[in-house]
């Protein structure tokens, strides 16, 4: 297992360095282009020419010197290249810092994932904990749920201590315990193999390259419109440099993405192999993948997350160099044809299915032995699936702060959070129900978030003993009467606690 991580790390380093070279080259080229353009546009650069180089007469292109020699001699280009490379590095560092510091929460909130505790979904929680033990992770990852009918899951976490696993509610509804275990094992495999960290790093690299190229190409359009007249004859070398830079700026993001995708696909196979080893039951993951593959194509929100998900939702059957995930059918075939649950068996199945070789690192293979498969469980009772769907529905209601009212005719009325009406009518029998006051607090999402952050305790000192109005820190007007004697009250809007101090007290 450790060897798998080691070889992953080595490969990742090579990849990051390659991307770094692309990034810095791009920065340097852009810098040189800008520098050269500035150099030919302002005459003062003629004074800074080094005497060792023959001064290039303005307006005439040097016949005996190559383009690059001219550029090398152009201090504007040289200084520009240096600054450009530095700026590229700075952009990368900035994005990297962001990803390391807040990457997990950004990704999770982008997917609209909600954190759950054990009481919310005991089975999911147990499965995650079981796989944590099987993988020997030092700590159990946080568990998140996404309210989405699509079947998917992903893992994030720059460090294993901050790792998190997120699954969609559709996945919870449709998969049985063993299949869920397979999917979670795959995600835990990503965490264990340090994929989540690597993918974050690589995504940031790609992001920096795309950003730089985009800014340059856009800026170029802008400048080109404004100062077409400023290009003079002496800029022939600069013009060629400009052309090279444009080509590079178009190609660099593509190259970076290709590198990223190829690495991502490889890691999917490795996570599958890890999942088989953790669960000793590859057939469960295969069957989960089959269910996931049959689902409808989901929404756009997954675009940023695509490489992290268990199955890429955006590939419409079209796979190859441009996909983050290997074809799901191929993964299923490999898992189904495994002789036992060890890495060696996965490697063999991989070779047989794809005709390619070396998926698992050689040192891992040397250390691994046969791992016996688990017996398939008896087929689940049909009632189980329906019950699971109800449980997941109830879980989502709890997590999403829905108000649920049971009508006497058997209908369950669900009110979304923030719904401020005081009574509802049952659509079937027409009975009206009062929305319980405590639950109809009209909790908007923002107030909920504020409540979770636990607002600082507020104090209100009573002026006298009569009716008094004041405002909560959230702006909600509150009123207390002469009969009010409690030591504190709760704001109905933000939920914050306000201490009420009698007039004479210290």
């Amino acid at each position: 297992m450790w060897e798998a991580i080691e070889s992953n790390r080595r490969r990742s380093r090579v990849l990051i360095v390659l991307m770094g070279v692309i990034l810095v080259t791009l920065g340097a080229l852009i810098g040189a282009t800008i520098g050269a353009a500035a150099g030919t546009a302002t005459p003062e650069y003629e004074y800074t020419y080094s005497p060792r180089h023959a001064p290039v007469p303005r307006g005439v292109s040097p016949p005996q010197q190559g383009v690059f020699a001219t550029l090398a001699a152009d201090p504007g280009a040289r200084v520009g290249a240096g600054w450009g490379a530095l700026a590229a590095g700075a952009v990368w560092l900035l994005l990297w810092g962001l990803a390391v510091g807040r990457g997990e929460s950004v990704l999770l909130s982008a997917a609209n994932a909600r954190r759950i505790e054990k009481a919310d979904a005991p089975q999911l929680w147990n499965v995650v904990e079981e796989m944590t033990i099987a993988a020997g992770l030092p700590r159990m990852p946080a568990v998140y749920i996404i309210d989405d009918a699509a079947l998917n899951a992903f893992a994030v976490g720059y460090r294993p201590e901050r790792a998190a696993v997120a699954v969609t509610s559709g996945l919870l509804k449709r998969l049985d315990r063993d299949e869920l275990q397979g999917v979670i094992a795959h995600e835990i495999g990503h965490i264990r193999n340090a994929d989540a960290r690597f993918m974050t790093l690589a995504a940031v690299m790609v992001g920096a390259i795309v950003l730089l190229a985009e800014v340059f190409l856009r800026g170029l359009r802008h400048v080109g419109r404004g100062r077409r007249s400023s290009s003079r004859g002496g800029g022939q070398a600069a013009a060629i440099l400009l052309l090279i830079t444009i080509v590079f700026a178009i190609l660099a993001p593509l190259a970076a993405q290709l590198l990223y995708f190829s690495c991502s696909r490889r890691r999917e196979y490795l996570a599958d192999a890890s999942a088989a080893r953790f669960t000793r039951y590859p057939a469960a993951l295969a069957s989960a993948l089959e269910k996931i593959e049959r689902q409808a194509q989901p929404a756009e929100m997954y675009k940023a997350l695509a490489p992290l998900l268990i199955v890429n939702p955006l590939d419409g059957g079209l796979t190859g160099l441009w996909s983050t995930h290997p074809p799901t059918r191929e993964r299923i075939r490999i898992l189904r044809s495994m002789g036992d649950a060890g890495f060696a068996a996965y490697e063999q199945a991989y070779r047989q299915t794809t005709g390619r070789r070396a998926c698992v690192g050689a040192r891992t293979l040397a250390a691994a032995d046969a791992a016996p498969l688990r017996e398939p469980p008896p087929p689940p009772a049909p009632a189980e699936a329906a019950q699971r769907a109800r449980d997941v529905g109830a879980l989502l209601d709890r997590v999403g702060n829905f108000v649920v009212i049971g009508c006497a005719c058997g209908v369950r009325l669900k009110l979304p959070p923030g719904d401020a009406q005081t009574q509802v009518t049952c659509p079937r029998c027409g009975r009206t129900h009062a929305v319980p006051a405590a639950e109809a607090l009209a909790v908007p999402a923002a107030a909920l978030a504020a409540r979770r952050k636990a607002p600082p305790p507020m104090r209100y000192r009573r002026r006298g003993g009569g009716w008094e109005s004041f405002k909560c820190a959230c702006g909600n007007p509150l009123q207390i009467g002469p009969a009010f004697s409690a030591p504190a009250l709760r704001c109905a809007k933000c939920g914050g606690r306000i201490e009420v101090v009698p007039p004479g007290a210290a």
Binding site: M1, V127, I133, G136
Partner: protein
């Protein structure tokens, strides 16, 4: 510089490289051995978890299976033996018996539909089956760690260093009964 000096420098360099390598391998072995120890501790944690669950289970089931006390008492007795077991061999045996007693109890539950509809029991059932899984996965992880460690100290060249510093092969976790050897799976 004389040729003797250069030769000395080269030898010194080689010695430094070898020393660094030895340190690296030694640290790697220590890390693997700690991983094994950790995995072993994890098995104990999960066994303890199972012991803690049983009183709860017995309490829930008691009201429903009144006239088949024998099975219930067998579980309680097996738990007591497992908790107080001394030494590895005895512990493995006691835990195996506990697993079997639990299996019989849960088989018995099949014939009590009321019990199977009890929310409290359903929650316990998930906890219990998860605990069985955890014990199985903890053992599996222990064996995986032992295998990695043993392979490392048997292969050349780390075996030289393992021999020098007294790293010995560690035993696998073997389960005696055929029922226990099967994958952890409590189905209800």
């Amino acid at each position: 510089m004389t040729s003797v000096g250069i030769a000395l420098l080269i030898v010194l360099g080689l010695v430094v490289v070898v020393l660094l390598w030895v340190v690296g391998v030694y640290n790697g072995l220590v890390r693997l051995r700690n991983q094994v120890k950790n995995a072993w501790a994890q098995i104990d944690v999960q066994l303890k978890r199972r012991h803690d669950l049983i009183p709860n289970l017995v309490e829930t089931v008691k009201g429903y299976v009144g006239h088949e006390r024998g099975t219930l008492e067998a579980v309680v007795a097996a738990r007591t033996r497992a908790v107080s077991a001394q030494g590895l061999e005895q512990q493995v045996k006691a835990e195996g018996e506990l697993s079997q007693a639990l299996g019989r109890l849960l088989m018995l539950v099949e014939s009590y539909p009321d019990l199977k509809a009890n929310q409290n029991f359903l929650a316990l059932q998930e906890e219990l089956s998860s605990t069985e899984n955890r014990i199985g996965f903890a053992r599996q992880h222990y064996n995986d760690s032992v295998m990695t460690y043993n392979t490392r100290i048997q292969t050349f060249p780390p075996n030289v260093i393992a021999g020098m510093f007294g790293f010995h092969e560690l035993p696998f976790f073997e389960v005696d009964s055929a029922a226990e050897r099967q994958a952890p799976q409590v189905k209800f």
